[in-house]
Symmetry: C3
Subunit: 138 residues, 3 copies
């Protein structure tokens, strides 16, 4: 059995990390499925889906580490080619990946108490993101 | 068809990388499924699942790179808020992700000879981790 | 319903990032499935699958960031143990992961216009890579 939900998420730009756990939980509940997997994917190459404890400190710390890895104001070949300013966004998104797949059991996603599913915006401007929530199971 | 196994993994804390390939292989075999995908997920926001050649050198090298990215004794906003000392754990886990999904064929996970499925512990203290192994297929 | 395609991808070594979106799209089309998920996985512990805008600038920028994280000519314990020179490959592959799972809808993978599915080669020599494309859905 296959079920799908979609949601749109407005972000303020790089460093905005949005908790979408409630949307995913609602999608799983609506599907009527008991046991299976849910794939949560963001469309586009400058944002990612992952899990984190969604509190402002941990979110800021993630941003600090990613700034070390791919500084926003660094030199990027992507900028030279396209006149863009979001080379850091592409690099961060490629490393974190566009999706996460998690099991659900008895209609509930198998997450820890302090673990949220998040959309991490890496683009340098506000975006409206399309998220696909696809469930497979019984 | 949906099948599930669970296992508990005791870890010694940050840097402990446990090979759980045998547990996953056994789960796939027990399921009786021939062809499908297996999602291996750790519950919680301070550990990850990935694949690596599970030998002490490569495991230590991964730790060295992650220490560069998110130093254990660095300054973390998460620490200030909660009095915790595991900001580096949250950052590392968010970047590597909580799960891996792999195909299996003829009842065997499609892995290379030197490629193991591992639980990477990032928390700063020993933990007992719950791992969910969920299979879908024919 | 389960469907599978496989493809071989020849790479030139570390930093070669190959666009395999067309192969994945063809696999989904051939499966006859309309809605589901596709898992794309590379066999082996020194390459990864992710998505990126596949243009030479962004690909070079990803390489630059990964060189910062795990320098090719750095010191690796993996080298001391095995006489290998690909410690950086193992570290990069473990961080990016061996697979990506994405939804497809009406027979098309849910990707952005500028988002391609890629095999990122991290090994220090040319390789011929086996990629498994596994689809589940209706």
């Amino acid at each position: 059995m296959v079920a799908t939900s979609r949601c749109e998420v407005r972000t303020t730009g790089q460093g905005d990390v949005r908790d979408i756990s409630a949307e995913v939980a609602a999608a799983v509940a609506r599907s009527g499925l008991s046991s299976g997997v849910v794939t949560v994917a963001v469309v586009g190459s400058t944002a990612s889906i992952t899990t984190i404890e969604h509190e402002p400190g941990a979110v800021a710390d993630l941003g600090t580490a990613l700034e070390r890895l791919a500084p926003r104001d660094g030199k990027y070949r992507h900028h030279e080619r396209w006149g863009d300013d979001n080379g850091s966004s592409h690099v961060r998104a490629a490393i974190l990946g566009p999706s996460v797949t998690l099991p659900f059991t008895d209609g509930q996603v198998d997450l820890g108490t302090w673990q949220q599913i998040v959309l991490a915006e890496f683009d340098t401007r506000p975006r409206t993101r399309s998220v696909v929530v696809r469930m497979l199971g019984d």
